[in-house]
């Protein structure tokens, strides 16, 4: 276990290193000039050159990369051009907001999608199944931007029970979390439905039923237990991607998280901020994936960490 963990952490660090290195190069290949973004519309050529020197952008890309890596090893990701603060501090300040939103959205998703998927799998080819199918397809088809605006209009303007933007009270979490969860519920419930349908039709369930096991036990102790690994994997993957910033939802609801920060960093070509954001979110995403992997043995005793499943 310890060896497996050490190996996974080493792999993760290598992955993060490759990600931040790739991003370092890509942002510099993209069009746009950070000095011009900082200097504004009236900056002269002389001003822009002075800003580039101050930012270290006059050095060659390998030199800049060397400065970045040496800074990274000391926990220094540079100063954000637009905030004039250490880029890492800016990201860490926003991170709790994104974790809160992603956490609420994924929990809401799990809470709705799993029972819904199980329910429709138990009632396959009925009106309930058809209705849920239509609902989930609709959920998948609605862009988050549109859903967010509709929810805002309905629940913040027409019936003003929730705030329209920001995170000034806990109630501000509801609409953005529901907006994200609507799409995720559609995706995860279909996955649960598919897995459950396959397991409910499996011979071991038929045998258990013939031996007099209750339907409740068949559903949850047999079929769902065997469906839980792909569902947990999907939830983990979705959660990890949300930690990278739920850009559209954060912008629509003025949620002060990583997503809206990334938009701003890209608009202003704020290289240190982009790099810090990528580093932090990739570390988190990989951490979540590792956690999911470590949970597998708890869900399925056949799984041993670092070993293949024995059947």
């Amino acid at each position: 276990m310890a060896r497996y963990l050490a190996l996974r952490i080493a792999q993760s660090l290598l992955t993060v290193f490759l990600i931040v290195s790739t991003v370092f190069v890509l942002v510099r290949l993209a069009p746009g000039d950070p000095a011009a973004a900082v200097g504004g519309p009236l900056a002269t050529t002389e001003d822009l050159q002075a800003i580039r020197e101050e930012m270290g952008l006059v050095d060659s890309v390998p030199q800049q990369y060397w400065h970045f890596i040496t800074g990274l090893l000391q926990g220094d990701l540079g100063m954000s051009y637009s905030f004039r603060e250490p880029a890492l501090d800016v990201v860490l300040e926003r991170l709790p907001y994104t974790i809160t939103l992603a956490g609420a959205a994924i929990l809401l998703t799990a809470l709705v999608a799993i029972p819904l998927g199980v329910f429709t799998a138990r009632r396959a080819n009925t009106g309930w199944d058809l209705g849920a199918n239509v609902g989930t397809i609709a959920g998948q088809s609605m862009p988050e931007f549109w859903t967010g605006i509709m929810l805002l209009t309905l629940l913040a303007v027409v019936v003003p029970i929730f705030p329209a933007s920001g995170f000034t009270t806990w109630s501000g979490l509801v609409l953005p979390a529901v907006t994200i969860a609507l799409l995720q519920v559609a995706l995860i419930s279909r996955l649960v439905h598919r897995e459950m349908a396959a397991n409910l039709a499996a011979p071991y369930v038929t045998v258990a039923r013939s031996r007099g096991s209750a339907e409740r036990a068949l559903t949850w102790r047999y079929a769902f237990a065997n469906s839980s690994i792909p569902v947990l994997t999907a939830l983990g993957t979705r959660f990890a991607s949300m930690l990278n910033g739920v850009v559209v939802v954060e912008v629509v609801f003025a949620w002060p998280g990583i997503g809206s920060l990334v938009v701003r960093a890209l608009e202003t070509r704020d290289y240190p901020l982009i790099q810090a954001t990528v580093l932090v979110t990739s570390l988190l995403a990989i951490g979540v994936q590792l956690l999911v992997d470590l949970l597998y043995p708890l869900l399925d005793p056949r799984v041993r960490v670092g070993k293949a499943v024995s059947r």
Binding site: L107, A110, I161, A164, G166, V174, R264
Partner: protein, 527 residues
Amino acid sequence: MDGSGRSRRGMSRRDLLRAGFATSAGLALGPVLAACAGPTGTSGAGTLTLALNRSLVSLDNKLNQFDAHVTVQRAVRQALTRIGDGLRPEPVLAESFELASPTAWRVRLRPEAVYSDGTPVTVADVATALEMYQQVEASFVGNQFPEWPQVEQVDDQTFDLVTQRPLVGLDALMSNILISPAAANLPEELSDGVGSGPYLVTEANRGTGDYTLRANPDYWGPAPGVERVSIRFLPEETSRVLALRSGEVDVIDSISPDSAEQLDGLPGMNLLQAQGTRLVQLFYNFRKPPEHPLSRPAVRRALSLAIDGPSIVRDVLLDSVTPTDGVVPLSLDGAYEVGSFEFDPRRARQMLDAEGVDDLELTIIWESGEFASDAYVMEAVAQMLGDIGVRAHLRQFEPGGDLPTWRQGRGGDFDIIGNGYGNQTGLALTSLQGLFAGTPEMEATGDAFMGFVYDDIAGGITAAAAETDDERRAVLLEDVQRSIWDLWPAMWAFTQDVLLAHRDTVSGLDLLPINSYDLAAVRLEEG
């Protein structure tokens, strides 16, 4: 074996699932229950909430000064003057600000002006502020000063601002220099410290762009009308409009014509519109080689005749702009009506034929969001040019630093650029200097605006800037604007109106053409 296995792990799969569901239920329902019990996002009675479209990174303006921020910045920190009604400078920290000689302005500070900590505003504070603004690289404000004035103290309350050359409009330029205590001022954007304005900062979050201001109990002037002001950053315009409609915010500014149309007529909503100072031009590229058709004023003028400006203003821009009958916005002090854009496609074709121009192809570039409905306007322009046989290729680029590259001629070849040029001083001279006073020296580094370099024009603008006699300066300004117009620097131009929406519980809001208002004058009635 099963039993031993379970006891070794300590948690069964069923336990795990139950715990997972219980936690999910608690965490997911918790906020909902809290929401039902707690308040919504409204800021509460006695609080005025403003939603800005750009994040207020600081309450200082040394590096950036977006017009929507000016209102808030000046509620905390003040300048010697401010731009007031009619775009004329009005004294704030200065009791008087008068031209004493062609190269010296005499300023007397208000004896009652103090910072929020009770210390007085001094001459040394003004001198230090000017030094700090000079030391900041690429200061937005700094580039508007043709020359930095020197402070020469006369007595405790009086000083002269001395320049090498006459600098008319220094009283307007000084409206952008915010004064802070000398000991606390730095050559960077100040994120804390005290100001002399009617409000104090009680909470600030640069990351989210949210600030809370409270009325300064020791303010030296009339007490502000609202006790508490909450400033929020809502980047998405639809969200700002919905936040206003929900009552969560009281004022949203810099709104688009589409949003204004949505809000117009809704109960409880008020719209304010004023002619702005930001000139949007379809400016020709003056770096074309002499043999290129666009190097000839007659061709440039002919292309202008193809543009049906009134239709674009009415149908595309929904009357949210003012056609410009001159080379700078007519709302500016010193601007003159020196010509107007006409629509006459038949004459346009005749003029192009007379110039021997046919099969002309133009590349029109612009930055996304440079002005309202930018893409629709450009598509209309391309179609109108097509009607006179000119093929236009549209090229849009994303915001983020490319614009100066194109302006400086380093981005590649193009023929026309759609570009907005703001003005925070209220002076026509500031815009004339920035747009049309290019010299060969400036062009050597690409700093002449779009390569516009005409010695007689630059000389005329410099002469007007140095003329201290109002009547003679007026003549010089009109002459130079007429000369610029005759060169047809732009295919079409308009001045973008400033639009603001507020709830009808807000009063005393007097929107200025520089897209700002006096926050201390705003009143809030309980809705």
